[in-house]
Amino acid sequence: MAKVRKGIEVSIAMADAVAQANVDVIAAYPITPQTHIVEHLAEIVANGELDAEFVPVDSEHSAMSVCCGSAAVGARTFTSTSSQGLALMAEIFIISAAMRLPIVMALANRSLSSPLSIWNDHTDTMLVRDAGWIHIFVENGQESYDNIFTAFRIAEDPEVMLPVAVNFDGFILTHMIEPIEYEDDETIAAYLPKFQMKNTLHPDHPVSMGCFGMPEIYTEAQMQRESAIRESYPVILKAWDEWGKLTGRHYRPVETYRTEDADYCIVTMGSYGETAMEVVDSLRQEGEKVGVVKIRLWRPFPNEEFCRAVLGKKSLVVLDRAISFGGPGGPVASELRSALYQKEGAPVIVNTVAGLAGRDVSRNDFRKIILEGKAKAQRGETEGFDLYGLRG
């Protein structure tokens, strides 16, 4: 692959990235809207363009199990799923992180049943929020392509050895044709060293994986997992930094747009960030001192960087794409509230849940969400959340 800029479907570009990353094993079960990635990979492997095993397994539960097996013996491993597929693989998804297996997943975010829906929101990923995977959110096709490489780089770093999910919005990204800059294979090879696993299963250096944990050891094992994901943070920064130096495209755990002099900000995750920036531009012309804060790294949660971005602002309007039924607010807003709790200069948080199961959130809707959020903050109405656009 040469360095080239082309108009291409985001899923295809992601599959091309997986091929450029020279993976060894791909195991997946089809589910909308992930299908195009996996179909394209099947084709690349069948064409002989990538020397890899493509395993069309019988379910997502098996897909993640195959991934655990291949990663455990040191193979660079990729899978992709969505929604119900993720829910079905949850058992092994969690175990894969505990076993410190550096699997990379393209997670095409989609709503969960019921009602059955194939459209985009973030309810699927919130299900596995606490599973111990590193979660990156991307906003457009270029970021989707780029972060396949950064994901492998992070996952396989000997200091990390954790699975990484690249969250990208179903349909809004998976099925969209965008101009995407491909890097040449030499750049990728330089960035992504050959995968050398330290603790691979090998008869010469026996290791045990996924063992039983008695009460005497379970707590310590959990702490190790917690330390591992926390300590991945500097490696993530470095992986993005080096990618930025190579390509000129820079990533940060928390990204901001026109926030320096902003009184208040809208906070988003995923593809809505682009709409938010456009709307903020037009609101700025009307004199609104508003900015955008985008959470790119969801796990490990970038506490300090987030606080640095928002302390001193008057309010934050946090846009959630999932409901935490019976909870104190949307999952993102709840975390941000607790991240800011008792911090000096903490902005108040107003929480809106919008865009569930693909319901469109237009620029005009964004405008309303931002302005109404600001007004609510001024009135001190900061409890719970609003479900934007609820009919009836």
């Binding site: 089809p30 909308t32 996996v38 179909e39 069309p56 019988d58 079905l88």
Partner: protein, 251 residues
């Protein structure tokens, strides 16, 4: 004038969303005719799958409970155990039954659950765009087997119906097709029998129906019926794998 053909009472007057030539439409109609003829509308519960038949509740005017992908036979088990007076059927594609739902299907059959499965085999995951299924035939091209299925890499067509036919809990297991009018009528007869076996409390009953998916086979509706007869029926021979009612008669 005498009416000789009409819409079955329990087939709602809703236009099918299925592609032209799709076997699901034929099978839906057959089942609705049977539900009318056997007077089951008030006491039958259907469990449609994740698959192209996911919207079956738009057509069957009966109680319906949607199942997650593959979980039909487990849901049916719970229903039948709690309400043995009801007639419970699952309606499943080959992905639903022979890929993701293999475990609960085999175990329900093995426990001899008194439920009926209508298994629509079109040799692909139709709904998600025609990827290779465990039932895909050797050499068959799909979006995940672009040069055709290879036995050394992707294995062999899974004949789950034959497997189930070997289980003691299964009472009536058969494979039919909708390739011709005569075969369609034979399918109807088989489904009737499957329901009767359930109502008689004899055990698990399963009708596999070979069915065209012209869209993903990338042939015209007309040619899909030829493909069905010439290719699918070769790989999946029609006939009864198990019928304990005939055994009883013999002995």
């Amino acid at each position: 004038m005498k009416t000789i053909y009409t819409r079955p009472k329990c087939l709602k007057p809703a236009p099918f969303h299925y592609c032209p030539g799709c076997g699901h439409s034929i099978i839906h109609r057959l089942m609705c005719e049977l539900i009318d003829e056997m007077d089951l509308q008030g006491r039958i519960i259907g469990i449609p799958p994740a698959g192209c038949a996911v919207l079956a509740y738009n057509y069957f005017d009966i109680d319906i409970c949607e199942s997650a992908h593959g979980r039909g036979c487990a849901i049916a088990t719970g229903m039948k155990r709690a309400r043995p007076d009801k007639i419970i059927f699952t309606y499943q594609g080959d992905g639903d039954m022979a890929a993701i739902g293999t475990a609960e299907t085999l175990h329900a059959a093995n426990r001899g659950e008194k439920i009926t499965s209508i298994f629509v085999n079109n040799a692909v995951y139709g709904m998600t765009g025609g990827q290779m299924a465990p039932t895909t035939m050797l050499g068959q091209k799909t979006s995940t087997s672009p040069y055709g299925r290879r036995p050394d890499v992707e294995g062999y067509p899974l004949k789950i119906t034959d497997l189930i036919g070997t289980l003691p809990g299964a009472a009536y297991v058969t494979r039919t097709s909708v390739a011709t009018p005569a075969k369609i009528l034979a399918t109807k007869k088989a489904i009737r029998k499957a329901f009767e076996v359930q109502m008689a409390g004899l055990g698990y009953s399963l009708v596999e129906v070979l069915s065209p998916c012209p869209t993903n086979w990338k042939v015209s509706p007309k040619d899909s019926f030829i493909y069905l007869e010439e290719k699918m029926e070769k790989e999946y021979p029609l006939g009864v794998m198990k019928d304990i009612t005939t055994k009883k008669k013999d002995s």
